[in-house]
Subunit: 241 residues, 2 copies
Amino acid sequence: MSNKPTLNTSLSPALLHLYDLSNSVVVIIDVFRATSTIASALYNGAKCVIPVDSVPKAIDISKSIGGIAAGERDGMIAEGLQHGNSPLEYTRDFIENKTLVLTTTNGTRLLQMALDKNADTIISGSFPNLSAVCDFLVKENKNVVLGCAGWKDRFNLEDTLFAGAVINRIAQHFTIHCDSSLMAETMYLQNKNKMIDFAPQLTHYHRLVERFGLIEDIRYCLTDDVANVLPVYMDGKLVAQ
Amino acid sequence: MSNKPTLNTSLSPALLHLYDLSNSVVVIIDVFRATSTIASALYNGAKCVIPVDSVPKAIDISKSIGGIAAGERDGMIAEGLQHGNSPLEYTRDFIENKTLVLTTTNGTRLLQMALDKNADTIISGSFPNLSAVCDFLVKENKNVVLGCAGWKDRFNLEDTLFAGAVINRIAQHFTIHCDSSLMAETMYLQNKNKMIDFAPQLTHYHRLVERFGLIEDIRYCLTDDVANVLPVYMDGKLVAQ
């Protein structure tokens, strides 16, 4: 028997209940774009990111603490907000020493689910902070659940590809009996050298690029280690560790 | 705009609620082994297969109609039954002109869910009846949901590979905006010529082969068109169309 901790991949928030989170590090993965934006903001000096589940809550909290309210619904800046869910919006000039109060369609909801299920530790992952995530998971040496945010509970490939990237780097440190993880690594290996070319096949690509012209966002969100911080959730906030 | 019907792939029963089944042909996919067994029994002349959700129900119904009660729980012949969920058990000598009353861990449950969601048409699919399924779906020209039974709501690769095989054959007849389908076809194309060699990587392979020695079952369940009938569900029974 191996004494290595386990690693599992949850392909949708609707499958998260299948995994025991109470002894696990849960990685929230919302590649397009929440967790890429969180990495970007923290990398560029944001004090913290407060994820919230509604626009009114984002506005209320940001007012009370002097933060930046931001978020999207269905890929667009949410009504009533001035700032959206683009990682490129959160430059150092704009976000340094500020608090970002962020609400998104999928990532925020998944994080709340992980909290409700008493996850041992919650971090957020995306290609921009791939190495920081992998280093942390190996160092912690605990069970891991890679939690894909998907799109309104549907499977999506970009989150799966990120899970595959993590697995490809750290698999030897874990016991993996999980077809989702095997599939994720296979899909990653097949596409890792052509991620930008593969992107137009993704349903979410069409949502973002054809409807909103966010090709630069897509490129950023698929680039390794351009915002290599580790966002850890504690006391209601994601802070860079 | 395309007038082609849509095709979607549901990777787990826990994701089936995301799809509109009321105007769709739903393909129940439980490669290891329920839908392979259903194909085998009908191909070998069974009058019909009655899927039921419990062992007592299988026994009661088979007694009242003089049928064969069969089924598995967790991969083994279910307690109280003499016949299991092996497609190789249902030879022509044994099953011709008989009714099989079958209860299984995953496939039967998914079929009930599709019924509850008012699926327009329900058929069952597996590699042994791949061509019959594809021919029917093209001929019907309706929306399609490929429903993977998975393992206790977890994603599994063998059902996904079958979905990919169907998509690979009939994609040109459908509108497909579905990352699950794209992934399924990719995984299928990568493994179609080495299915038996790939099988040992599947979690379910270990469940069946290492614990129960069912390697011949696995081979049968991964072979195209060896029981090429079309099981259609109507009035509580799966019958060969």
